[in-house]
Amino acid sequence: MVYTPCPFLLMDNNQPSTHPDPRRQLQMARSMCWHCQSEMSGEYFCERCVKVQPVSKDTDYFSCLGVPRRLTLDPQKLEAKFYELSRAFHPDFYQSKSPTEQTISLSNAAVLNTAYRTLRDPIQRAEYLLGLETGSVKDIRTSPPADLFEEILVLQDILEEYRASEHDSDEGRRLRDTLKTEQQALERRKEEMESRLRELFVDWDKLQDAGEATSPARVERDRILKQMRDLLSHRTYINNIVNDLAATIA
């Protein structure tokens, strides 16, 4: 027998398996109350026996929190909804309930917390939406913006040089100043990207509000998603470098 010394992770979790899909089964179970088997019409609680129902694995974070699939969300409203659902799901309120209800409460609360954490942050929200609209989120690879490619290569060299240098020497100080300037430039660049992203968010929301299924609307949709993907990927790349720089010269 051979065992791996450490686990081998599959990078892509969202790839459907070719075997009986448990998600399908869950979805079917969802339409009926697990307890009294009556048809489910309420959102999270059976209207007949008032038992809590599991949040389906197919429920995306937007519908979990009962908000539209938009990229500009009112944080106050999102928080209010999160608090309301926390009061509905939190294990504290299921202490005297049946073990099944306790299990559902626990996993619902965990899903709710993930959903809120994701949607609360505009960048994570956009990455998540992109995943929903175009397939796996994990496909967003970080990549440097083409026009910064050269600059970043040079920067990497300076970083190496600085790491190897005596930090207190004149040379070290000179390198650190260069790196600081670079860091500021990159931070500005990041802010620029973020403001462009915000414009795209507004475009996306407008398109959603119009709700048209025309072919220009489809073209516009694809444009927004494509630009968003590129910007997100570049932004993460820059963000990582900025963090790295900050940590090195701190």
């Binding site: 027998m1 051979v2 065992y3 791996t4 010394p5 450490c6 686990p7 081998f8 992770l9 599959l10 979790n13 398996s17 075997h19 009986p20 448990p22 089964q25 608090y83 926390s86 009061r87 939190h90 294990p91 504290d92 309120f93 202490q95 005297s96 626990l106 996993s107 609360a109 965990a110 899903v111 917390n113 993930t114 809120y116 954490r117």
Partner: protein
């Protein structure tokens, strides 16, 4: 629903509280003391707990355990730097520290269970009912092993631990109940052995923890040590004695150091007096607050980095904090208050009793769980990132620190060799890149059907529950079959060991209860003998001779029973004596009444 009590199981002091008419109250002992010293001593009459055990620190240092909380969920290697300071003997079995007391070794959860039992008994005596359920507090920065060890301690003490709750968040519940404010608060908790900082948003009855940080090895104990080192050096200088080699005197030095530190919170200077070994007389001296503070500042300033990190993780700056709440005995030090004020830019809130507020909050949480309080809800976070070991000894993070709990993460696993039937998984907690720099929590083996490499798909769910404790489940995605997983903790007791300890503890409970009953019966018998002797002396001549003789016979029978070991026989003889002396007592009362009336005018009586 049966009552749930709230317990603050502290490094130095422990307390138990309950909810009375929608207000939390700490349960005092007969003398009105609310704190139980977290000390356990092995004496010739068996194990004792609390303040009476504390007295044994200097008489019997190697058999008196204090600050056991520092050892919860730890192995011997984790506490190497502490060993020199603790007079009792530590060993390790199965990744768990063991403390030697006489002929037996005890794990830290077993020692903690003795403290819990003392609190349980205190609550039972006070409330007149049996207590089986509790909420127990832990430092927010406790890792999974330390939380699990606390839960084990509860089980061993015969308590179902319905919730493990973080100390600073518990404090915030008590604070919120009292102040009914909204806004962002920071709870700064510096006790005897641990430091925590938690930043919370209070809104509409929701207590949402935004970030938490801390140091589970930082507290008043460290200040005591600095003073101990100072005194030991001074004694060596002045008297040429190395106190370090006398464990009992070292404890005397430590206790005097702590007392001096406490006094200097109220005074600017204080006198020190320590008895020296080998009849060398006394060491005396003066310690000023300035001297203490110049030593203490380096320790106290170690609390500031965690505060800054928590602020950063919460995405806030110091000026966003509306109020800083102080918790823990060490926050009574003026220097601590100054440093906190300097960091947050506003004077801290110190109107809560820093000793009791955590226990009070635990009682509030207990009331939430039992359905009494319905408008408050605590949303806490996990203090440390959780991950697994991947190729190259690197930790891959699954749940980031400061994620709201319950929190879950799923990971898909497969094989990379044909026919492979197992995958070993190593779970870690911590913020560092490399496995070796993080805390190993547990290992388990995933069972995999023998198939070509890459075909099996096992989904593992890592779930951190509302206690901050990890639960692992696995599902074979090809068959949708879930798989039971036996997780082997790296620094914890195994389930079977905990079970054995529970059994042991029930055996001891039976013995303890037997011993307690005997002692109580003897004490009651003694006082009955004393009062009957008095009645005989005062009124024996006023009753028939046979009656007086019957009382004397019953008396001598009770005396004999008292020296034997059967509490039931003592109680039976007591009942007989009470019966025999009933008339005698009436006669005696009459006689003494008459005596007291003599010499008084009739008008004074009516």
């Amino acid at each position: 629903m049966t009552r749930i009590v709230g317990i603050d199981l502290g490094t130095t002091n422990s307390l138990v509280a309950y909810m009375k008419d929608a207000q939390p109250c700490v349960i005092p002992d007969r003398n009105g003391r609310t704190m139980v010293s977290s000390v356990v001593a092995l004496t010739d009459n068996g194990l004792i707990v609390g303040d009476s055990a504390k007295e044994h620190l200097t008489q019997n240092p190697e058999r008196t355990v204090y600050s056991v909380k520092r050892f919860m969920g730890k192995g011997l290697a984790d506490v190497q730097n502490d060993l020199a300071y603790f007079p009792y003997h530590l060993t390790e079995t199965g990744g768990v520290i063991r403390i030697r007391l006489g002929q037996k070794s005890y794990s830290p959860p077993q020692i903690s269970a003795m403290i819990l039992k003392e609190l349980k008994l205190r609550a039972e005596t006070y409330l007149g009912e049996s207590i089986t359920k509790a909420v127990i507090t832990v430092p927010a920065y406790f890792n999974d092993s330390q939380r699990q060890a606390t839960k084990d301690a509860g089980l061993i003490a015969g308590l179902e631990v319905l919730r493990i709750i973080n100390e600073p968040t518990a404090a915030s519940l008590a604070y919120g109940l009292q102040k009914k404010t909204q806004g962002t608060i920071a709870v700064y908790d510096l006790g005897g052995g641990t430091f925590d900082i938690s930043i919370l948003k209070l809104k509409d009855g929701i207590f949402e923890v935004l970030a938490t940080n801390g140091d589970t090895h930082l507290g008043g104990d460290d200040l005591d040590r600095l003073l101990v080192d100072l005194f030991v050096a001074q004694i060596k200088d002045r008297h040429g004695v190395n106190v370090g080699s006398y464990p009992d005197h070292m404890q005397a030095v430590r206790l005097e150091a702590e007392r001096a530190k406490v006094r200097l919170s109220g005074e600017l200077k204080t006198e020190i007096a320590i008895e020296l070994p080998e009849d060398k007389g006394h060491f005396t001296g003066e310690l000023t607050r300035d001297q203490l503070e110049s030593l203490a500042i380096s320790v106290i300033d170690r609390t500031l980095t965690p505060c800054r990190m928590a602020l950063k993780d919460a995405g806030l700056t110091a000026k966003d904090i509306d109020e800083v709440v102080l918790v823990g005995g060490s926050t009574r030090m003026p220097l601590v208050r100054q440093r906190v004020e300097a960091l947050f830019g506003k004077p801290p809130h110190c109107h809560l009793n820093p000793d009791e507020v955590v226990a009070l909050g635990a009682a509030v949480q207990a009331d939430i769980l039992s359905g009494g309080t319905t408008d408050m809800l605590l949303l806490d976070v996990t203090p440390l990132s959780l991950g697994i070991e991947t190729m190259g000894g690197v930790m891959s993070s699954l749940i980031r620190r400061n994620t709201t709990i319950p929190a879950s993460a799923k990971e898909m696993f497969t094989t990379y060799v044909d026919g492979q039937t197992g995958v070993d998984i190593h779970i870690l907690q911590g913020e560092r890149e490399l496995v070796k720099d993080n805390r190993s929590l547990a290992r388990f083996r995933l069972k995999v059907p023998p198939l070509p490499a890459g075909i099996p798909r096992i989904e593992v769910t890592f779930l951190i529950d509302a206690n901050g404790i990890l639960n692992v489940t696995a599902t074979d995605m090809r068959t949708s079959q879930s798989q039971s997983i036996e997780v082997k903790p790296s620094y914890g007791l195994s389930d079977t060991e905990v079970e054995r300890m529970i059994e042991d503890s029930f055996k001891f409970v039976a013995e303890d209860i037997g011993a307690r009953k005997l002692i109580e019966a003897r004490l009651d018998a003694e006082s009955l003998i004393k009062t009957t002797d008095k009645s005989l002396a005062e009124a024996g001549h006023l009753v028939a001779r046979e009656e007086a003789d019957a009382v004397r016979t019953a008396l001598s029978q009770l005396s004999a029973a008292k020296d034997a070991t059967d509490p039931r026989a003592i109680r039976a003889r007591m009942a007989e004596l009470e019966q025999a002396a009933k008339h005698l007592n009436v006669v005696m009362l009459d006689a003494s009444l008459k005596r007291s009336l003599q010499g008084k005018k009739v008008t004074e009586v009516t």
